[in-house]
């Protein structure tokens, strides 16, 4: 119905559309600039990564990826992501819910704190953990006494990843939930819904696209994070090297084909994430369509 009204109104007033339309040369220049930019800064590097990776043949490519150190790096990256993303999902939804649906003291402080990882350099983020958990730091000696390893071990890498990716989901949801307001929730409460029903039946369906988008951004950053992780990693091969760190090591060892092979893996992970996003999107909209018809 909406679509019909829009097309109807535009066909009724052709003069208005002409006024808002730029001359042809402006449109083509803009399109050319956008496309050239995309080609130069997205497609060419992406293609060159795969080209360099496969330049020395598929055998070299497979050998580089199935190397035990590479496999360990893949596993570590996936582990860190699998912990960081769900935790940030819970935190992001909780924080966005609290900020947009309630009034409370210190709300601005919370919003500022969520933005902190965006404004702090990743290297500083890594150093924060070294200063807290390092042997010369506050908790280091106590941790060492109890044989607990945080930095230069997997927990440190997970912590650094978590810290860096905190804002992604919350930041995605807050403007969305603010725009939606609280009317639907109020209506549901009036009709006798409890908190849990409210969340699953009203709030979550409303925010799911924003949430999904936040999860995807968060996921991409978690897999690709370099700076903060580099500081807390200790660079132990086969143990505390994530994929981006492994790429750097291979590159520094003149092992360019392998470096690009692992880099192409990271690019592939990103493309898979995109594909999953598109897949879910179309699936849900298919389900949504008939439901609305009924």
């Amino acid at each position: 119905m909406d679509m019909a009204s829009i097309t109807a109104s535009s066909s009724h007033s052709p003069s208005r559309t002409r006024i808002t339309q730029e001359p042809r040369w402006v449109r083509y220049t803009l399109i050319t600039i956008a496309l050239t930019f995309l080609a130069l800064f997205l497609f060419v590097p992406l293609i060159s990564v795969f080209y360099e990776a496969l330049k020395k043949g598929v055998a070299v490519y497979i050998a580089a990826i199935s190397d035990p150190d590479a496999l360990a790096a893949i596993k570590l990256t996936l582990t860190a992501t699998a912990i960081a993303v769900p935790l940030n999902l819970i935190f992001g939804v909780a924080a966005a819910w609290a900020i947009t649906k309630f009034e409370f003291k210190g709300k601005n402080v919370l919003i500022t704190l969520i933005d902190l990882p965006f404004s702090v350099s990743p290297v500083i983020a890594g150093l924060i953990f070294v200063l807290v958990f390092g042997m010369q730091g506050w908790l280091g000696p106590w941790l060492a006494e109890h044989d607990i390893r945080i930095i230069f071990a997997v927990p440190g890498i997970v912590l650094a990843t978590l810290f860096i990716t905190v804002p992604f989901i919350a930041r995605e949801l807050i403007p969305l939930m603010q725009a939606q307001g609280t009317e639907e929730e109020l209506a549901a409460v009036t009709l006798g819904a409890n908190g849990w029903q409210l969340f699953w039946r009203v709030t979550l369906p409303n925010i799911k696209w924003g949430l999904l988008y936040g999860v995807i951004l968060c996921n991409a950053r978690a897999m690709g994070e370099f700076g903060a992780v580099s500081v807390v990693s200790g660079h132990i091969r086969g143990s505390t090297n994530t994929l981006p760190l492994h790429v750097e090591i291979l590159y520094n060892e003149y092992n360019f084909a392998a470096a690009f092979a692992v880099a192409s893996l990271l690019a592939l992970l990103a493309l898979i994430t995109l594909a999953i996003k598109t897949g879910i999107e179309s699936k849900v909209s298919q389900q949504k369509g008939p439901n609305h018809e009924h």
């Binding site: 699998a82 369906p205 660079h235």
Partner: protein, 332 residues
């Protein structure tokens, strides 16, 4: 409803994937500096073979590489290294002093100042030596771009700096040496954090006219890129660089790896290891084996740090501490 199942599935997958890595066999962590990557890759295989042939248990040797100073800092901050094999004694001194992880007299525990191999500092220039660089004083020439890492984080960079300083002391005299070294660093467009970073800057990114490099690093670059792209220039005088090795007592005693860590370091002095070192262009400390490779290394007048600069603590205090001479010349 549908959404709820999605989230349930997500959480099940997540909780399944959080399974800690379980390693049964013993691990040994060697925290090393930048240019030893290829050497230790080969040495670790040799040692593992030797160790299991002599009835030792199965071991996994893990490697970590980076700028020597940075690596020492990580060990002080808690990186659980069983052994450190760093670029200079000063960095291991720092671990003893600030981390209290090994005794101060660590360097006397193994032969040859705990340095199983030595090296020196040479220049790598582009083929044909277009800028005509022959000796240290050519590096102070304003039209030459010099690549060297940051002495604050890199061990090799400190050897570079000290070698230049020693040359300047004799060539220009005590009073003008600081000015000379300062002139060299004015020609440095980028200070990488480790020796390997600088090599990549010079050979891969094509920045600079001359790389002040470890001898082994320079030969490795020649091997990787071919003689037709670069050549090595040996200066009139250079430094005898002694990269030392040590056990980190606090770590091995806690992990129960002292015996194997000691065997690991001792094996660096074995005939097999000395040959591997020479193969990777480190100068063997064993004289008879060194003699076999005499042709491989150019003869150059080498001075010892202990004869000219004293101990590393003083060197660090005067040159590389906050506000020290390096800060004065580089921040100027």
């Amino acid at each position: 409803m549908k959404l709820q199942t999605w989230f349930t599935v997500l959480f099940i997958i997540t909780s399944l994937s959080i399974v800690g890595p379980a390693r049964a066999d013993k691990t040994l962590l060697n925290v090393s500096y930048d240019p030893t990557r290829e050497f230790f890759q080969e040495f670790n295989v040799a040692f593992s073979k030797y160790w299991s042939a002599n009835g030792g248990e199965k071991i996994t040797i893990q490697q970590s590489h980076g700028g020597s100073g940075k690596q020492a800092r990580s060990v002080i901050d808690g990186l659980a290294a069983d052994v450190v094999t760093l670029a200079l004694a000063g960095d291991i001194d720092a671990i003893a002093e600030h981390g209290k992880l090994l005794p101060e007299n660590w360097q006397t525990r193994l032969p040859k100042n705990s340095s199983p191999y030595t090296s020196t500092i040479v220049f790598l220039v582009r083929k044909g030596n277009p800028k005509g660089i022959k000796d240290w004083h050519d590096l102070a020439n304003g039209c030459v771009a010099v690549i060297t890492p940051n002495p604050k984080t890199s061990g090799g960079a400190r050897w570079n700096y000290l070698a230049a300083w020693e040359f300047g002391k004799h060539y220009f005299g005590e009073t003008r040496v600081q000015e000379f070294v300062s002139d060299i660093y004015k020609n440095v467009p980028v200070l990488d954090s480790g020796a390997r970073g600088s090599t990549t800057t010079f050979v891969e990114r094509g920045i600079g006219d001359v790389l002040i490099a470890w001898e082994n690093e320079a030969y490795l670059a020649l091997k990787e890129y071919g003689n037709d792209k670069f050549e090595i220039i040996v200066p009139s005088v250079s430094v005898l660089a002694e990269p030392p090795v040590a056990i980190i007592d606090k770590v091995v005693d806690k992990k129960g790896t002292r015996v194997i860590a000691e065997a690991y370091l001792n094996y660096l002095y074995s005939e097999e290891a000395q040959h591997i070192a020479a193969k990777h262009y480190f100068r063997p400390s064993d004289e008879t084996i060194a003699a076999q490779y005499a042709q491989q290394f150019t003869k150059v007048k080498l001075f010892k740090i202990s004869d000219t600069f004293g101990n590393w603590k003083n060197i660090h205090q005067i040159h590389f501490s906050d506000g020290g001479i390096f800060d004065q010349i580089y921040l100027k």
